[in-house]
């Protein structure tokens, strides 16, 4: 490239060879998708009898369970998220700033921690059933945590902030002219909400639901605690119940297939909804004052949800931790587990950002089949169930680079495969908001590609990238299945400790590490929220 006549050579090169960006992206995508390919390979080469067995015994039920759980969680998330976002953005509820912070807190609780507190709360003759019996008579029963209702409850309480966050920012940035236009033509407040406001924030809602549904489909911790048979749990059961992983790979392939269809659908939708962006003068919505009755209702509603999703579980964790302290049951290795967790999460998040940069850049700036393939490939890891991703990484490593075996690196690779999409999603949307004109302006002023990136693009997307880093960090802190299967001997993380103790139903012993994770994630989640509430960029 550094030839005597660079401009000429470059022009010529561009015609004959793909840009270096594409090559880098392809290599990265290739590495990231290797585990997926391995899974597909094992599934396709599986004995027909295995497939037949799975079709006749497992797949229909798993499909039904996974879909119905995803749909019911999505519906509840939508109701909770949108209503809370509407209340927060359109009314001046008492201490609404505080609520705004509180609503996001459930994201700080790992799904399996929420699930394990709810197995206690919802157990026969447990606290919730006793409370219910006061209302409904002494024979009244409440649903079991180990049921569809239990799984739906736990997953919804865990994921509604995804929808809330996106709905909130959509409502906040909503151009109020649209609502005024509707009302000028005679539509009432309510009708305006359903006919204009809600349809217009559809892209944000879809994005939020997409996150929530993917979370449900790939969650392992909660469904396994609640023994609700979804694909991830069944895959883990196949892996731990049988001596070969073919069946697990087959189930994974089915899940990955549907997830891919889902992903493409979402992308198609996002492409379409790009036209929804409006031009012209923006008029901000102004929250209106509420009456004391409204205040009471709103506060009660918000309070109830947050107590259920955060307050009650954390209260239990604190209670149990105190019990454990009093009984002297606190594990002496706790500090080591904290260190391991932080170490893994920090490194993975950083690597994910570094690797994500070329991919996200490609996805936003070069709309070709090649780039679409790359980005979709990189997104695959998100739906590759944690256990299978882990196993595939392990096998690949032992075959390709056995020297790495037994180190944390294997775990890191599995994390990267699994969480790169989280980083990508944030980075991609940040880059998308940045007008390409800025980069073109820099180039027109003679800046080279790297200079443009480091001096123009990077400073502008820093906030968004930081948010992506934080998101990956949280996810890694909470990660369970891959860590379970890949951790080197003596390298337990907090998540592992919670899992080991909680699956023995040793509530008190599982509580201290769980409380630590919550305590570490909470400030990070709040920081994220604070960043998210600032305008990302001011173009147009």
């Amino acid at each position: 490239m550094a030839s005597a006549n660079p401009s000429l050579t470059l022009t010529r090169l561009r015609i004959h060879a793909p840009s270096p960006l594409i090559i880098v992206a392809f290599i990265l995508t290739g590495l990231i998708t290797l585990p997926l390919l391995y899974v597909i390979f094992s599934a396709l080469t599986a004995d027909g009898a295995v497939w037949q067995r799975l079709w006749s015994t497992r797949i229909p039920e798993l499909l039904f369970n996974t879909f119905s759980l995803a749909v019911s969680v999505a519906v509840i998330d939508l109701i909770l998220g949108v209503s809370m976002a509407w209340i927060i953005t359109r009314y001046r509820v008492v201490s609404s700033t505080l609520w705004d912070w509180l609503i996001i807190l459930p994201l700080a609780i790992p799904s399996y921690v929420l699930a394990y507190t709810y197995t206690y709360l919802l157990q026969r003759n447990g606290p919730l059933e006793q409370a219910w019996q006061i209302v409904a008579g002494s024979d009244a029963q409440i649903f079991s945590p180990f049921s569809f209702a239990g799984a739906t409850l736990v997953m919804s309480l865990n994921t509604f902030p995804f929808v809330y966050l996106l709905a909130r920012s959509a409502f906040k940035n909503f151009n109020i002219s649209f609502e005024e236009a509707a009302r000028a033509t005679g539509a009432s407040r309510l009708s305006t909400f359903f006919r204009v406001s809600l349809p217009m924030i559809r892209p944000s809602l879809i994005a939020g639901l997409f996150l929530a549904i993917l979370y449900v489909a790939s969650d392992f911790g909660a469904v396994s605690m609640l023994r609700f048979q979804t694909f991830t749990y069944a895959i883990y059961q196949q892996m731990t119940g049988r001596f070969d992983n073919t069946a697990a790979a087959c189930l994974s392939m089915v899940l990955v297939f549907f997830a891919f269809v889902f992903l493409l659908g979402e992308r198609w939708f996002r492409q379409r909804s790009r036209f929804y962006q409006t031009t012209g003068r923006y008029r901000k919505p102004i929250p209106q004052a509420c009456s004391p009755i409204q205040n009471l209702c709103f506060t009660g509603y918000l309070g109830m949800v947050i107590v259920a999703a955060f307050g009650l579980p954390v209260y239990l964790l604190i209670q149990w931790t105190l019990d454990a302290l009093a009984a002297g049951d606190l594990s002496p290795g706790l500090i080591g587990y904290v260190g391991n967790s932080l170490f893994l999460a920090g490194i993975t998040a950083t690597l994910a950002i570094v690797i994500g940069i070329p991919l996200a850049y490609l996805a936003c700036r070069k709309h070709t089949w090649g780039s679409l393939l790359c980005i979709q490939g990189a997104y695959a890891g998100y739906v590759l169930p944690g256990p299978v991703a882990a196993l595939a990484v392990l096998v690949l490593i032992t075959q390709l680079a056995p020297a790495l075996y037994g180190t944390v690196i294997v775990l890191l690779i599995a994390y990267l495969v699994h969480f790169l999409p989280v980083a990508l999603q944030g980075m991609e949307s940040t880059l998308q908001q940045l007008s390409p004109n800025l980069e073109e302006a820099a180039k027109s002023l003679g800046a080279r590609a790297f200079q443009t990136f480091s001096q123009v693009t990077l400073p502008l997307v820093r906030g968004g990238f930081m948010s992506a880093w934080i998101l990956v960090f949280i996810q890694c802190l909470k990660e369970l299945p891959a860590t379970l299967l890949l951790r080197p001997v003596g390298f337990d993380t907090l998540a592992i400790r919670i899992w080991l103790e909680a699956s023995e139903e040793l509530y008190q012993l599982a509580a201290p590490p769980a409380l630590l994770i919550v305590a570490m994630t909470t400030p990070v989640v709040l920081l994220l929220m604070k960043k998210g509430s600032q305008p990302v960029s001011r173009n147009g």
């Binding site: 006749s56 180990f146 023994r227 731990t240 119940g241 001596f243 920090g346 056995p402 820093r462 001997v489």
Partner: protein, 342 residues
């Protein structure tokens, strides 16, 4: 200001990452014994701690599902850091042997300590404790004479009155394997279908919960490993639960008996230390901690079981060798899945 913070964090993380990549693989000092354990950490840790204290050998332990550990050993091959493998299921141990993941070892005095059916012919795995699969019943709801065979629990009579372990329970899997081996698939499927209908939502992840449910009277009977009943009675002496040994008598198929045990891995690097651990575990002290402490039957005949246990010799055990359990596992899983137990 925040700008700088972010950069610092990023910079630190990158530096950390690079230094990590240059790290050599994690390795343990020479006398660290690496144990893969499928047994609950709460049960095994005190035993290993005692061994560590006695021998001065440090132990690193990895706890996971027992089958997953076999799979892991298989994939790790000769690079596996594991020296010994402890499992709650003799079938899994035998499977590991068949896959050449364990090595035959010569432990002095093993013949005298552990009887033949409880260890592999080449001693590549050695049983340490025995557990039986029994019926737990609520003494106020059920008379012990009402049940003679486990298979009866599949009859409509028990609808809504049975608690069973979830399909991922290795105890259930072993039990079903034994029933299949003796009764055949048709009988087994019919039994499991009935059991599934009778249990309804009373499917529990932990045997402990089954005993508790029976004690509360929510269900009349349940299927559990025997020591969960003893443990419950230790905590709640007046709980109305008791153990029932089914399938006795002339035509009875006998009780399902399984063993927890240990094997030294094929690529163990600390053979001496591993052998020392095995020897400790089959010794009187080790057996008392490993088995008796947990109300299991010590397999070293010279060590006494907990006094409240029915003597091992006093009842009829199903005639399926522990080693057979290995090959029965996969078809059993298929039957369980086919019936749709959860």
């Amino acid at each position: 200001m925040r700008f700088h913070c972010i950069h610092k964090v990023l910079l630190c993380s990158i530096t950390l990452g690079i230094s990590l990549l240059s790290l050599p693989p994690l390795s343990f000092s020479d006398d660290t014994l690496v144990v893969y354990s499928g047994r609950a950490e709460r049960l095994i840790k005190p035993v290993l701690d005692a061994f560590q204290a006695e021998s001065g050998i440090t132990i690193q332990m990895l706890t996971a599902d027992t089958t997953a550990l076999v799979n892991r050993l298989g994939m790790e091959g000769e690079r596996s850091p594991a020296d010994v493998f402890i499992s709650n299921d003799a079938g899994t141990l035998e499977r590991a042997r068949e896959l050449h993941l364990l090595q035959a070892v010569d432990i002095p005095g093993i013949e005298g300590a552990i009887p033949q059916p409880f260890r592999a012919p080449d001693n590549s795995w050695i049983g340490l404790s025995g557990r039986i699969w029994v019926v737990v019943y609520n003494t106020t709801l059920v008379k012990p004479t009402e049940i003679t065979s486990i298979l009866e629990l599949g009859q409509p009579k028990w609808k809504g009155k049975v608690a069973i372990p979830s399909a991922s329970s290795v105890y259930l899997q072993t039990g079903v394997s034994v029933i299949r081996e003796i009764q055949g698939d048709t009988v087994t499927k019919k039994f499991l279908q009935g059991l599934k209908d009778n249990a309804g939502t009373s499917v529990y992840g932990k045997n402990r919960q089954i005993v508790a449910a029976v004690a509360r009277g929510e269900v009349a009977v349940g299927l559990v490993n025997h020591y969960y009943i003893n443990r419950h009675l230790d905590e709640h002496a007046d709980a109305p639960v008791a153990q029932l040994l089914p399938d006795q008598g002339e035509n009875g198929m006998g009780i399902v008996l399984n063993a927890a045990g240990i094997g030294i891995t094929a690529h163990a690097t600390h053979l001496a230390q591993a052998k020392a651990l095995v020897q400790f575990l089959i010794s009187t002290k080790g057996q008392q901690m490993f088995a008796s402490g947990n109300k299991e039957y010590p397999l070293n005949a010279s060590v006494d079981a907990a006094p409240e246990l029915v003597p091992l010799k006093s009842f009829q055990v199903a005639n399926v060798p522990l080693a057979r359990l290995a090959e029965l596992r996969d078809p059993t899983m298929t039957v369980i899945e086919h019936v749709g137990l959860r």
